[in-house]
Symmetry: C2
Subunit: 436 residues, 2 copies
């Protein structure tokens, strides 16, 4: 903890996923799954923190520039000073007197903050020799809560309430850890549901995932009612009616349009409609939630909610029934701790967004801490799992029979292989420079 951060590097890494249609949806028709990738170095050669935020191609460079603007706030800082009052340090990034103007706490700047903060947690977990979920679970309630910036959320959750939640759950920790290590954490797959796949590929994927033990599936909707019904019919034919099925519109609709559209899909027994409209529209989500409740369809959102303040309003307004935190869009782990604690207070299950680049590797830790230290429940809780691109990770998340296996290696476990970064760095990596 006497070490300091001596350098920060940030890379623009882009995988050409638009060629295969992986990740395509109603709004993002040609994503090249990408990330801004941060490496923090210390004086110890064997101790680096790696962190990233997920993007989908063009625009990654803007996030990279945002990280560089924050560099001077991190390089030279002593690790002990950062981690002993991590909430204050987080605030120094998220609330710099000049830089915050281009947020505040949203967009490219906040995503850059997320990448940097995730790298700091990776470093801390490596120093402690624990996977992140275990580091979080082992922190004393007061210490964990000192990592959170409670600004703007004290009207729904105070520091004292947060400490009390953690204290009450402390007695169950050992038992829950044992359960987690034995059973893993529920996963669902989106692999069967991308817009760009043909019928044969979709049927084959459904069978493959069923065989692998999956019972929870998600599909994209929003292209047209006819195409949506066709896609869902194929999936239900394959997975049957005992499996759980969710759908995702990726913000395609206005509020009333979402309600009318979903009323035409009620016969598919859908657990949730995800991102029915713009992610900033807490009140719009509340209107949709109320209208769809009689059909047994919940509302889920969060992957593009910029910060704890929008999440707070989703809780307050009953805007969603499933809270989908994202590991990178908000300001990294610290802000997600706040959202998970608010979710607990409001009785809303947390079902993280994943897929992309590194999101599965990340959110598994957050879900596992949620289970061990906060909610104590796996009911109605599951985490998205997608394995494409995992060949590029040194320590990819792994799932078996539809459940994430608790990671055991130290760190926040999201290292892209050096070789992959050399090939896919934009625009000078070997893949992109050969294309030009």
């Amino acid at each position: 903890m006497d070490l300091s951060i001596i350098s920060l590097t940030v890379q623009d890494i882009r995988f050409p996923t638009s060629l295969s249609g992986d990740g395509s949806d109603a709004m993002h028709t040609d994503p090249d799954y990408s990330c801004a990738y941060v490496i923090l170095k210390t004086a110890r050669n064997d101790l680096e923190g790696h962190g990233l935020t997920f993007t989908i191609g063009k625009g990654t460079n803007v996030v990279v520039t945002a990280v560089r603007e924050l560099e001077h706030l991190v390089v030279g800082k002593r690790l002990g000073d950062i981690y002993s009052n991590f909430g204050e340090f987080w605030k120094s990034l998220a609330c710099h007197s000049q830089i915050r103007w281009i947020g505040p706490e949203c967009g490219a700047l906040h995503m850059g903050t997320g990448a940097l903060v995730n790298a700091l947690w990776d470093l801390w977990a490596k120093i402690e020799g624990k996977p992140l979920w275990k580091l979080l679970s082992d922190l004393e309630p007061e210490q964990l809560v000192s990592c959170i910036d409670f600004r703007y959320i004290t009207d729904v959750l105070t520091k004292e309430e947060a400490i009390n939640i953690l204290k009450k759950n402390k007695q169950y920790k050992q038992q829950r850890e044992a359960e987690l290590l034995e059973k893993g954490f529920p996963a669902y797959t989106t692999a069967v549901g991308w817009v760009g796949y043909d019928e044969q590929k979709r049927r084959e994927l459904c069978r493959q995932y069923l065989n692998d033990g999956y019972t929870r599936f998600k599909a994209k909707v929003g292209t047209s009612i006819e195409e949506d019904r066709k896609r869902l019919t194929i999936i239900r034919e394959e997975i049957g009616w005992d499996s759980i099925l969710m759908v995702d519109a990726n913000q395609k609709w206005d509020v009333n349009e979402a309600i009318e559209w979903m009323k035409q899909l009620t016969d598919f027994k859908l657990l949730w409609i995800e991102e029915p409209t713009h992610p900033h529209d807490a009140l719009g989500h509340a209107t949709i939630s109320k209208a769809l409740a009689p059909y047994g369809i919940g509302v889920a959102t969060g992957e593009q909610c910029p910060n704890r303040i929008i999440f707070k309003q989703l809780f307050q307004s009953k805007g969603f029934q499933f809270c989908q935190i994202d590991s990178c869009r908000v300001g990294g782990v610290n802000e997600n701790l706040a959202t998970i604690l608010m979710a607990h207070k409001f009785g809303i299950p947390v079902c993280p967004h994943a897929g992309g680049v590194g999101l599965c590797e990340y959110v598994q830790h957050l879900s596992m801490w949620d289970f061990v230290a906060v909610s104590g429940s796996m009911e109605n809780r599951m985490t998205e799992y997608v394995h494409h691109l995992n060949e590029h990770f040194e320590n990819a998340a792994s799932a078996k029979a539809g459940r994430y296996l608790a990671p055991k290696q130290p760190g926040y476990c999201c290292h892209l292989k050096e070789e992959s970064r050399k090939v896919y760095e934009f625009p000078n990596g070997t893949y992109w420079s050969q294309k030009q």
Copy 2:
């Protein structure tokens, strides 16, 4: 209209205002008033569109990078194709299938969109030979409304409703234009209220502005109750009790803190508390509005609201009593047209945020269009006016006796002098390179 845009340049311009304390407030203690400055060229040497978005120092570079990411969507486009369906073109910028991920419609990306869109309006107004407010006022209702992207707001305002609002007001246009040209539009000053000024400077400024005919003043609050009371006491001593006084906390407080703090300032007869908390917190603003209503204090916000979706929720939740649009933070003129029309529907007066770099030059046009074509009223309406830095503009906004004078020159009137840009371009302009 057969011309195309042949190039885009974008500059990072920073004025060292932190040296004098101009613009300092409780959250932004050392702003260097800055902007990302866009120039669009056409094949005609005498026809350029200039546009900017305001920033406060570090971070400007991130917005500049965002503009460059959008460049390929604009350069090469025919002007006639842009302006004949400006709403669709706006959507192509704000909703690019890859780039939107780093918003959506917020932060550095959306501010860059704003600078670019403002430059496009400058170009259009020059082609028509009219100041922007007059161009907007002269557009047929259908054509004006075709500039707006109604996505995500149709639950409160449809295209048809917007057209009807404009049609109903058309008959009063000539009479209102005459009134505007004769009387100008009400202005208020913030010059007396910055945190960084000492008592003598503050008293002198109050006297100077009173002498100039100002009757509306605004001061910063949020440093400490004691300092706030001292600052407000000085100002009330100077301006008397018939003048209007507003205060601005620049997001310093949590929701309950805002209420408790303001209860200790009720004796100063305050029209509004501006930015009491985080600008994304529509429901928090509603709680504050309700609590302060008995004291005759309204809530104002908007300068850091990222888009029409957050404004929509402020209208729906009765989150504010004064709607403070900003000309640059949202996606430029087009998105502000939507917000002004929503404000009309909800009966909320629009009192734009200004100051900064170029904001006075911009928002005067929006307020004047609001008066001529939408609200038809100057009651409870006023636009911030600050004249510092106006020596750098070729066509600075001008106010007399506390009222903005309607600009008459063609364009959106926000040209920084070439000489000023050479001096203050960061980091290579003569001012900044000599400092290093």
